[in-house]
Symmetry: C2
Subunit: 286 residues, 2 copies
């Protein structure tokens, strides 16, 4: 299958490596998100939309309207359903498939949450993130007046509660106490335990490691105290890029079977993410 990439930041570069490592894929082009859209209408099966998340909706809709499958890692949880509704209509009209929010959260964590819910329908699941950089909180910290550069680390405290460790490089002449007060009052930080630490170089702290500890205790049938845990310690863009590439395979397979529409990862069959035949995968994995 011919796979192209739109956007060449951390995720686009990681996706490129995953396409090159896939036994059943050909890298059919890398496009920057200011390239002309008509250049992308070539002979490709699927486009990995690796643009900033707020630009996903526009690009995905245009590509799908040309019958090209798309995969994105749209990560604004509260807007996924509306994106799915809009893309589903475009995909069905144009006989193609879009896979939305293909990353690790939303994405593979969502599949694990769905599976644990099926294994123990009553109970509580907690998704604990980190330690790792929060992109949203880092952007919010950078927007505080007097901040030259920032890094917001998410530290898991259990039961879905997180500590924010915010490392900031001040602008020349900025007052640390003033910056700290403004940051602690920001809506992104006001609800969590937050520590602000001045540093000489944020760049020296840069690390794309991340982690998850996803825990469920629940009830199977009438039996309580069924306990489940999913952990990972990963390079964040490498995993996101890989998950998008595995979803590209699923998108093309679904298109080829005539299963048109927009889907999130909990709506995918795990086997469709993998190269090889059904027989090979059933024998190796079941």
């Amino acid at each position: 299958m011919k796979v192209a990439i739109l956007g060449y930041g951390n995720i686009g570069k990681a996706a490129e490596q995953a396409v090159l490592a896939a036994p059943d894929m050909e890298l059919a082009g890398i496009y920057h998100h200011d390239d002309c859209l008509s250049c992308m209408a070539g002979n490709i099966d699927v486009m990995l939309v690796c643009t900033p998340t707020r630009e996903v909706r526009t690009f995905a809709a245009v590509l799908a309207s040309r019958g090209i499958c798309t995969v994105d890692s749209f990560d604004i949880h509260g807007q996924i359903w509306s994106l799915r509704e809009a893309m589903d209509a475009v995909c069905k009209t144009n006989k193609t498939v879009s896979i939305l929010s293909a990353g690790w959260d939303p994405g593979t964590d969502s599949m694990v949450r769905a599976l644990l819910q099926a294994m123990a329908p009553k109970g509580l699941t907690y998704t604990n993130f980190g330690p790792g950089r929060s992109m949203g909180h880092t952007v919010a910290a950078k927007a505080i007046p007097g901040v030259k550069n920032a890094l917001s680390m998410t530290i898991p405290l259990g039961t879905g509660i997180h500590r924010r460790m915010v490392y900031i490089e001040l602008e020349e002449g900025a007052d640390f106490k003033t910056v700290e007060a403004a940051l602690l009052a920001d809506d992104y930080f006001a609800h969590d335990e937050t520590h602000v630490i001045p540093v000489d170089s944020v760049d020296a702290l840069n690390n794309v490691a991340h982690g998850v500890n996803l825990v469920r205790s629940g009830v199977s049938g009438a039996t309580h105290n069924q306990r489940f845990e999913f952990n990972m310690e990963i390079n964040n863009p490498a995993l996101t890029g890989q998950v998008m590439v595995s979803c590209a395979r699923a998108a093309v397979r679904m298109r080829d079977r005539g299963e048109f529409g927009a889907k999130t990862m909990i709506e995918l069959r795990p086997i469709d993410l993998l190269p090889g035949t059904t027989e090979e995968n059933v024998k190796a994995l079941v």
Copy 2:
């Protein structure tokens, strides 16, 4: 949906509890596996085949030939593909769906293995079982001459290596050393570290707790050292019965969409395992 149960041992009883707890199911009958098969041809959507594993093939084929969906927890890993081939043909002819090997291993562990393979395609996955009772090894131990009752516990040592702790109640007049030697020479035990312990009452040790520690270290794209771990500590028949019931829901949905055939769990969409609408589940879990 109308769900019936065939076989009323540990798994059948647990499945009954899970059906009664499901908001979208009606328990449509419990059949013993020596009941007449024609009694089971009533108005049911799906039969949970909770018979001993070696009887699954016959019952599932007869039920599918009458257009009834089936779910089983067939657990002989090396024979799953041939069961799938046989059942797939029967299901397609009779426009129904069979879900095979629906339990936790094979079953939900298989889904986790497939997902981790998609997240890090190169690498090694180790499935470590226990501590918990191994049914196969317990049956093998009970078959040794001089053994009145036995319990074989599986203890995980990591990297897929297991210790066997075998508790045996001797028959009157049997010699422990002779029994121990015969057991250690049995093919079920000869390849693992095995300890044989005489006890007064095997029944006093009875506990259906089990566990899994499934570990993968692999490569996403070109990035090594991506680490994943799935753990559970569960009541074994309760989880197996619940997974079968969740798969019953998927079977009926697939039948209603015209997706006839036999499937293993890695071929199912996680969302099909859950009650509720697509919108509800996407909003809650993605």
